[in-house]
């Protein structure tokens, strides 16, 4: 019981977080350089991680001590909790709660708090601007994410990820709810502030909430963002691409492949999409994406009624 319920989920989540974050770093670098000319893509992330580990972790004048130390670790913990919710097969699930879908939603909400604290606690103006910027944007992603997730839960008649996957036996949600996955991918880029939605940690604020970070905490912050992206890909594959379902291969292999596909799409979108100014981005979220998520929800409800 202890092996099943404590050690296995723990190992699964942290292995996934560690290996996944490494993979994100490799893929992102490969997409950026397009070749191995700038050193080995496999070794470069390890080299920069080692470099950060040997650096001194500087601090600011009068930071909020608790939040300043904890924020990167808390974000990593949220990512790991997210990974623990992913169902690899009908039986191989880290944490199979009756409300695991709502728990994922609350991780997204708590991420807003953690990112705000990361910027706020530094007691430095650029970090503070990044933090406020994330809150303004984060609340709009949260709403979109909530409506999309309700749409996913409707046909399953359950808030459990395993049953959400089981409800996609005949037809994956990516087909029956065509608006869901694109909207959810935007949420994913926003949640990890990746690519064009990297507005909280963007270069115009000289890395925003992370501006005063150096050394190991900076490494943990980068690791946490990458791990969150991996957790998000796995959840998106579970919600829209039928999770463990597929012919020939065993369930976990399918989930791994699908998550990898979502991850690659996210990283590619992160490199390709143009960046918007924060206020225009906010308008886009509230005026375009939020109404689209209402449409997605109505669509999901209508399809669920028609199928039932």
């Amino acid at each position: 019981m202890i092996l099943d319920q404590l050690i296995l989920p723990w190992l699964l989540a942290w292995l996934m977080a560690g290996l996944g974050a490494y993979l994100v770093a490799v893929l992102d670098r490969w997409m950026a350089t397009g070749s191995t000319q700038a050193g080995s893509v496999w070794l470069a992330p390890l080299a920069s991680a080692a470099w950060l580990l040997t650096q001194q972790a500087t601090t600011t004048e009068a930071p909020d001590a608790g939040a300043w130390r904890l924020a990167p670790a808390l974000y990593l913990a949220l990512a790991a909790t997210g990974l623990a919710l992913v169902p690899w097969s009908p039986t191989l699930v880290g944490v199979d709660l009756a409300t695991s879908l709502v728990l994922w939603g609350s991780l997204e909400a708590l991420a807003t708090v953690v990112i705000f604290l990361h910027g706020w606690s530094a007691n430095s103006h650029l970090a503070l601007i990044g933090a406020y910027r994330y809150v303004a944007l984060g609340i709009s992603y949260l709403l979109v994410s909530m409506f999309v997730l309700i749409g996913v839960a409707l046909p399953a008649e359950s808030l459990r990820w395993t049953e959400v996957v089981a409800a996609q036996e005949s037809l994956w949600h990516v087909v029956s709810q065509p608006l869901g996955l694109p909207l959810f991918l935007v949420v994913g880029l926003g949640l990890t502030f990746w690519g064009p939605l990297d507005l909280a940690d963007s270069t115009d604020l000289s890395t925003g909430t992370a501006v005063e970070r150096s050394g190991p905490p900076r490494l943990v912050w980068a690791l946490a963002r990458a791990a969150m992206l991996v957790a998000f890909s796995a959840i998106a594959a579970t919600a829209f691409l039928g999770g463990w379902m597929g012919p020939w291969l065993p369930g976990p292999a399918w989930l791994l492949l699908k998550s990898l596909a979502v991850l690659v799409v996210l990283l590619w979108l992160g490199r390709r999409l143009p960046r918007l100014a924060p206020e225009r981005c906010l308008t886009l979220m509230w005026v375009v994406l939020l109404p689209l998520s209402f449409v997605d929800l109505i669509w999901a409800g209508a399809v669920a009624l028609w199928m039932a």
Partner: protein, 210 residues
Amino acid sequence: MTPSLATHIAFVVLAALAVLSGWRVFCTDSMVRASFFLLLSFIAVGGIMILLTAEYLGVAMFFMMAVEMMVMALFMVMFMMNPAGLNPMKMVHQERVAIVAGVAVFGVLSAVAVLGDFPDMPLPAEHAPVISLGRELLGDSMLVFETAGVVLLTTMVGVVVLSSRRGRYGRADEGSVPPGLEPGGEPAGRPKESEEEKGEEGGHAHQHHH
């Protein structure tokens, strides 16, 4: 279903965390810190709810309180004109009233805990809290619940529309002036209109007619 030792330990830890962080809310001197200590306290209470097998309510507590405390902290900072939320300020007011109210509430709650008659029926094995909560909300009170939901959604859309800067007649803040210091007076915090006209656009005012 008798609770295991782990459940007991978890309850004690979570309860201590809830009380300690709730107490810290009143000891800190920053609004932002106070909000997040309150959030920590609520998260611990949500954990206790999960221990009581009210799974949905517990997890929904994390969800709602995270956003709520975030928004609350932000609004307090905005209204107090305290951009970093770091200016030291006192978190307790009307101390005598607060002490009396606190002691009274503590007395009532302890009386309920000590004298109350709690049910001690074991939970049925097939108990499904999410489903039973759903039936409770969407069974008899479906109409009320759904009406409240639609009203909230309409309010949300309405607020977004009203607070949007873009409107049918252009941007909402275009041509607006700050209110005067006395009724009908000059706009506060603006240079005198006449000086501006003379200084900058004196000769070609005719180009600006609409």
